[in-house]
Symmetry: C2
Subunit: 370 residues, 2 copies
Amino acid sequence: MKLVFEKNSLLSGINTVMKAVPSKTTLPILECILIDATEGEIALTANDMELAIRTVVKGRIEEPGRIAVEARFFSEMARKLPESDIVLTADESGVIQIVCDSTNFRFPGRDASEFTGLPVIEHEKYISISQFSLKETIKQTIFSIAQNENNRLMTGELFQVHENELKVTSLDGHRISIRKVKLKDVYEDEKVVIPGKTLNEISRILPGEADQEVLIFFQQNHVCFEFDQTVVVSRLIEGEYFRVDQMLSGDYETRIRINKKDLLDSIERSTLLIRENDKKPIILDIEESKMELSLNSALGSMKDELLLQKQGKDIMIGFNPRFLIEALRVIDDEEVDISFVNPKAPCYIRGEDGSYLYLILPVNFSGARA
Amino acid sequence: MKLVFEKNSLLSGINTVMKAVPSKTTLPILECILIDATEGEIALTANDMELAIRTVVKGRIEEPGRIAVEARFFSEMARKLPESDIVLTADESGVIQIVCDSTNFRFPGRDASEFTGLPVIEHEKYISISQFSLKETIKQTIFSIAQNENNRLMTGELFQVHENELKVTSLDGHRISIRKVKLKDVYEDEKVVIPGKTLNEISRILPGEADQEVLIFFQQNHVCFEFDQTVVVSRLIEGEYFRVDQMLSGDYETRIRINKKDLLDSIERSTLLIRENDKKPIILDIEESKMELSLNSALGSMKDELLLQKQGKDIMIGFNPRFLIEALRVIDDEEVDISFVNPKAPCYIRGEDGSYLYLILPVNFSGARA
């Protein structure tokens, strides 16, 4: 086996597949990258058995072959090599030699046959979406998946395709985030729950160009993302996702329109008074055309006042400030609409065009208005 | 007490004195910043009893006073406040109120009388040096102080003033770093050992302008750095520093001149093969007009070859690669001169103009040339 790489294509290929290399495992082969040059192109693959990534890197095959190599070591080496062509050879006994300019490294590889490759992908049911939209949609919903595994379904996101719309939902028991994206074509209905970890890695790998597409293929137990020269395959989370629609209501008693940045900045400042594990609510007191925000903790107290437009009743309601912050951070609008029913019912932050909906449950606090 | 600050001057003042706020202590008052507006200016001071920093911030004193405030909390708050004037008041009971735009924070301060201020500074013996030179000189020597406290003197740097020269020396038992800086004036002879921690903090605080000066005042047990609106006072390390001069020799059997960047890059690459705590030497085999570098470890092997100019004998010698790397990184010259005596004696990397000298002890390895 003898391959010649440009340093930068090799590096970017390694960085892409590294996302599927587990940091700790008892199976050393999982910490490897497979270099496969047996099919007329040079492919790098990593697979942690939940998530597998394969990418093609530019290079010249002088002698075809396959070998596995310890991923972190190979990645560090590629970074430190001189800016020159990299010649990789592997001999019969599995010893790899890297020659780059005057530098020469020798180290043992691993038998490629130990390596588990990608599951077989059927290319039947799919959608096409711009890299930019997919990356944004993940960012705008991923924060409200559950962090612990008590309920596996909550650790993933529901991807629903209906005609020319993709709807993405995440929830953790305290809040629900929903984003809708228009697609260019009409597709067959589809409904899968994709692990949060997969989506996080996808959004890190995706260059995110608006004029470049990602194809998402749906199958029985897997989902597959294809873009540029890269394929990402992930297991799905099995089970029936929560019926979210019945939790959503259009009724409200109070509805406000407020500058998003001012509201976000003020809530962020209030968190100064919160030490970790301390669960102090921020209290919003909406009266006439202003909101008074206040938070009290063992460290001190904060008050702030913001102007707003209001329809309906006055209300006083408390929230976990982090939940409001995480939703407001991913909303691009200058002003947001928030509707309330009563101090014990969720609030809804809704996009005018219906492209987003964030539902957040309030928290109890002493001194609520009747 | 009532003070009005511009956000940015307050922030930069806090950042400066924060360097003397210990991260963990059993004395809560040490984690505070003293705000003192009793002498016609607003001064912030922090003091961890080894190192004390005082800086003056711009602002308006509407009512003089002094109060101490928890440093990390105050720093975070200043960062998160809106871009507007900050009004700080403290009442008789020590409650601090911060008003900035519509935001209002209240939290308890601490009695200023608990706070230990700066030691008294005599302004007799001193030198003046450019901020840039001091910052560079520290960076170029600080890496070879000892990390553990077995020998206190090794955890500091020797500052020696002789006529119009400042000489800075550090050593850790395996290597010695010496830098000389020309001063604009002639000063009285002086010799002190300054703690490495102090020098690290000074080099972080110093803006490092070439046309701005630092005054260094020497006293019995303290050293004091004055620049811009800031004063840093540190304890000295007591005791007789090592007699370094007798360890330095001008004799050599081999002397080479080599491109610094190529040598540094090659040695840095070799460290890929070293896992922490693994003590593998890099072996330099100098023969005629080239150097072969090699390193073998459990992970693999590396070889490289560099061209050089040589005077004297061939030599094969081993070093801890980190020691070579740290010295080469802080040398600005394109080419370096290295002289050797034999494989058991230190090598010397010397500046042509005498401005620097790095001595590094070799390590034993099997297969040394006679």
